[in-house]
């Protein structure tokens, strides 16, 4: 069973072994509105925590998705390029963005669990 972490940038990280699957939260997709385009990084690219990892374009505006953890991009969700609206339909499931091979698992210490994230969203809305 993988464990799910959340960030203040409204991303979720599901960790299985040393691979983190990253997506945006349901709250984030609600804030974004209708997603019309997703730009994904190259597989093999190394990202540092905080680097731009992907771009989500809604009808309204473009938003960056920052890498919540450092590591190598080992897989991207190509489905999102053809069907960007999946982000609105299943943000915390099939609409994951990238899989990152973690280079420093201690970075996860700075994240929140589901209850912590829920409280964070309530506080900041």
């Amino acid at each position: 069973m993988s464990k799910v972490y959340y960030t203040e940038d409204h991303e979720w990280i599901s960790v299985d072994g040393d691979v983190a699957t990253v997506g945006v939260t349901n709250h984030a997709q609600e804030q974004l509105g209708d997603v019309v385009f997703v730009e994904l990084p190259q597989v093999g690219k190394t990202v540092a925590k905080g680097d731009e990892a992907a771009v989500v374009e809604s009808v309204k505006a473009a938003s960056e998705v920052y890498a919540p953890v450092s590591g190598e991009i080992v897989e991207t969700n190509g489905d999102l390029e053809g069907e960007p609206s999946k982000v609105n339909e299943d943000a915390e499931g099939s609409a994951w963005f990238v899989k990152i091979k973690l280079s420093d698992t201690s970075e996860l210490d700075a994240t929140m669990d589901e209850a912590g994230y829920k409280a964070f969203v309530e506080e900041n809305s």
Partner: protein
């Protein structure tokens, strides 16, 4: 992902604020007002407007009467500030024009209506942009002769009902509006809460669809809003879809596509200047405008259709295929009815011909696009 600050301090509210909150709209600061950016979602609201009818609160816009003794006098005074033909505007007719500066740049764009009522024949009804209203009204006042006044109407709300079903819906509430032709208006009576209320209705809008803009006393606005929403054809539409609708319709947004540096000729608004006014001049910046009509301009506002799926936003560089910079995108986004990204921007005139292939540079990547004739959709205006 970054959040937005929603500091409610010092923001004004329209008479429909409570209605928006009750409809669970997402409210955002816009030109000093707390305005609804979306209700059900921009895409759904956009499609709703094109397919049926959308209801918009545009009460943040500036409404005013320009009052003079008779039409010829009032029109002649306004014509010293705008290139539009106001003198020939028949009673009840409406025209789009621009307030120009001495350099022929655009201070604002506005709608001017000649009163339909003979007893107030010397009155012109003006609707200007929210972001410019203070400056516009001060500018107009500074140029008024003795005996003429500009009377602002902040107590009036402005509601737009846009879409192919707008006529059928509004006709039920205000019989007679179906007879209005595009760009004309009149006073109508409608029953709100069992009482007759006067509304000023014009057949115009900012969506590329048939529809109306309705001026109503702010205290009557919520009742009118609710009465319109009670019709199954109507859904509320926020500023987000208002922007995507007008972009697809090729309509300029002040501050984006036109500003104090752009002339109406560069912006493709020559159609709004009549033959008489082109010849006679007599408006600010006439020298530049007449020269540009005669000799052409060095840049032009064009429509751009992207070949891929990624939108190009305001500020995106427009480049020739060899990499030479041609201009800048002034408005850009996703067109829900076009089902793809669309934009408008200024390019050097040599590259302004429809069919010209260009690149839009987004996040360092060159996205192929084609110069296209606007509007991007087929407008539904009832002429």
């Amino acid at each position: 992902m970054s959040g937005q600050a929603t500091d409610g301090a010092d923001l004004r509210r329209t008479p429909l604020y409570d209605s928006h909150v009750a409809l669970r709209a997402r409210m955002v600061p816009f030109t000093g007002y707390e305005m609804p950016v979306q209700y059900a979602g921009i895409m759904a609201e956009h499609v709703q407007t094109r397919a049926s009818a959308g209801l918009f609160d545009v009460s943040h816009m500036g409404q005013a009467w320009l009052k003079g003794p008779d039409h010829a006098t009032t029109a002649a005074v306004l014509e010293t500030l705008v290139p539009g033909d106001i003198l020939s505007l028949a009673p009840g007719r409406q025209r789009y024009t621009q307030l120009l500066n001495e350099r022929g740049g655009i201070l604002d764009d506005l709608m001017v209506s000649h009163s339909a009522a003979p007893e107030i024949d010397g009155w012109l009804y003006l609707v200007v942009n929210a972001s410019r209203k203070e400056e516009d009204f001060a500018h107009i006042r500074a140029h008024l002769p003795e005996g003429m006044v500009l009377e602002e109407k902040p107590e009036w709300a402005l509601i737009a009902l846009q879409g192919p079903k707008a006529e059928a819906v509004l006709e039920r509430l205000a019989p007679g509006v179906a007879e209005l032709s595009f760009m004309s208006g009149n006073l109508f009576s409608c029953t709100l809460n069992g009482q007759a209320a006067a509304i000023y209705v014009s057949r115009s809008g900012y969506s590329g669809e048939d529809g109306y803009e309705i001026s109503v006393l702010g205290s009557d606005a919520p009742a009118l809003w609710n009465a319109l929403l009670a019709h199954s054809e109507v859904e509320p539409v926020g500023l987000g879809a208002r922007d995507s609708l007008r972009l697809e319709a090729g309509l300029c947004l002040y501050g984006n596509d036109i500003d104090e540096t752009t002339s109406p000729i560069e912006a493709g608004l020559i159609w709004s200047i009549s033959k008489r006014r082109r010849q006679e001049g007599g408006f600010p910046g006439a020298e530049r405008v007449q020269k540009e009509i005669a000799e052409g301009t060095s840049r032009k506002l064009v429509g751009l259709k992207l070949e891929g799926r990624a939108p190009a936003r305001q500020g995106t560089v427009i480049a020739a295929k060899d990499g030479t910079e041609l201009g800048i995108v002034t408005s850009g986004g996703f067109g829900p009815s076009v089902e793809g990204p669309v934009a408008m921007g200024y390019v050097e005139t040599a590259s302004a011909k429809p069919g010209t292939q260009v690149d839009l540079v987004v996040r360092g990547k060159s996205l192929p696009a084609i110069v296209e004739k606007m509007p991007f959709i087929t407008p539904g205006y009832k002429r």
